[in-house]
Symmetry: C2
Subunit: 240 residues, 2 copies
Amino acid sequence: MDASRKDIHNSDIPVLCQSCEARHKGMCGVLDASELTALARSTRMVRHEAGAELAAESMPVESYANVMRGVVKLSKVLEDGRQQIVGLQFAPDFLGRLFSKENAVTAEAASDVDLCRVPKPALERLVQENPALEHRLMEQTLRELDDAREWMVTLGRKTAAEKVASFLYLIATQLDPTAAGGRRVFDLPLTRTDIADFLGLTIETVSRQLSKLRADRVVIISGIRHVEIPDLAALKRRCG
Amino acid sequence: MDASRKDIHNSDIPVLCQSCEARHKGMCGVLDASELTALARSTRMVRHEAGAELAAESMPVESYANVMRGVVKLSKVLEDGRQQIVGLQFAPDFLGRLFSKENAVTAEAASDVDLCRVPKPALERLVQENPALEHRLMEQTLRELDDAREWMVTLGRKTAAEKVASFLYLIATQLDPTAAGGRRVFDLPLTRTDIADFLGLTIETVSRQLSKLRADRVVIISGIRHVEIPDLAALKRRCG
DNA sequence: AAAACGCCTTGATCTCGGTCAAGGGGCGAA
DNA sequence: TTCGCCCCTTGACCGAGATCAAGGCGTTTT
């Protein structure tokens, strides 16, 4: 049992939070009814469409957010324009680098996205009053670090074919974590350009490797975005 | 002013801690004299020579540590043996993933290393009693995440020449952060194989690019390990 | 309906970095 | 001292993925 998880009567908490994923699996899970009510006074739900810039590298941080729906991509660029996506965030991930004055990465909406925004000072005050909240955010940060290091292996040591398989595997397990069986169905939240920037490849190579996986019946791709994985284990075997 | 940083009389604190870098710049900086004394009862200084395995991926965590001297490499391997170094730790970095039951990465001594080991339960108890300590560890974790993401750009988008320059730049700024001037002198703490595994290259490519940088007078390499950077800014221009 | 645009796929060719191979040089063992 | 080992360097060649180029398809504009 997680002692920090409060047993909250739905009737005591803000309406918007009642069905919120972040309250169960995200950072708000460690807040009690009064904290949640206080926090909800300063939060604001905002919708962004695909491509919108949510935060720019080296710019001041003015707010944090929880991802409620959609996928956010975190990226960095070299001076000559070469781009690398360094992370993807899914609901109910926390967005933002706690306590830092400026963004270390650029955040963009990869798909249409809903965010629950919190002003920087409001969250920081709450974190100072409630160590359990910092603890929860520490857990997410550690997960992100694990993910980043796992992806470093993909970037540094895998072939193009393995990279594309690894990407599909990542998205399949994040977006459709349902069916205990191996079958997964989802829409790709990223364009070919995004996938290339995530994998350190060109869009041509991504396209060719996707075609190869399709020819080998590892994935069924209908249209440009819709993907079906008949056998997740078979895909995993392609990941290197 | 950092309110959590206690003003400690040296005579009140354990002898071993008095000249310790971790007490000033590392995690112990947030502890007061009594906490430091309590913690010091369970710490143990250990020396490992280059190549020693400090912790293995997927094995249970039995202790945490502060790096007191030397360089520790964190790595991951694929089933077929391909290896990727996913991080380097220098004094006075904290070593270990707080609260996790098993290691996410393998930790090895890259050079000869001194560690100040703390048993897992002792540190976890202290973290629960002192939120400032978790806060300090959160800061280090966030720095590691920044480093990992920065390195993802290097792995995914830089050329071999830029990768090798970036590696030298990283080591130069970590190992010899003295002289405000651009000149840096140090010994490489990693073998060519390690460098290759850190950069996602082969040792032959690393060797060729080092020779090229030497031919271009960007670095002066004496013997195999000793490196002199006459002009750090010139090296940085090679980093992409 | 036609044109124009964005996004993707496929083919042809090129190139950077990998692979294979030979040899140098330092260091410990005998 | 000499041998053998390990680590590194250099050269020759090769191939995975980049680059260059053409065209398909769906959506928006006119």
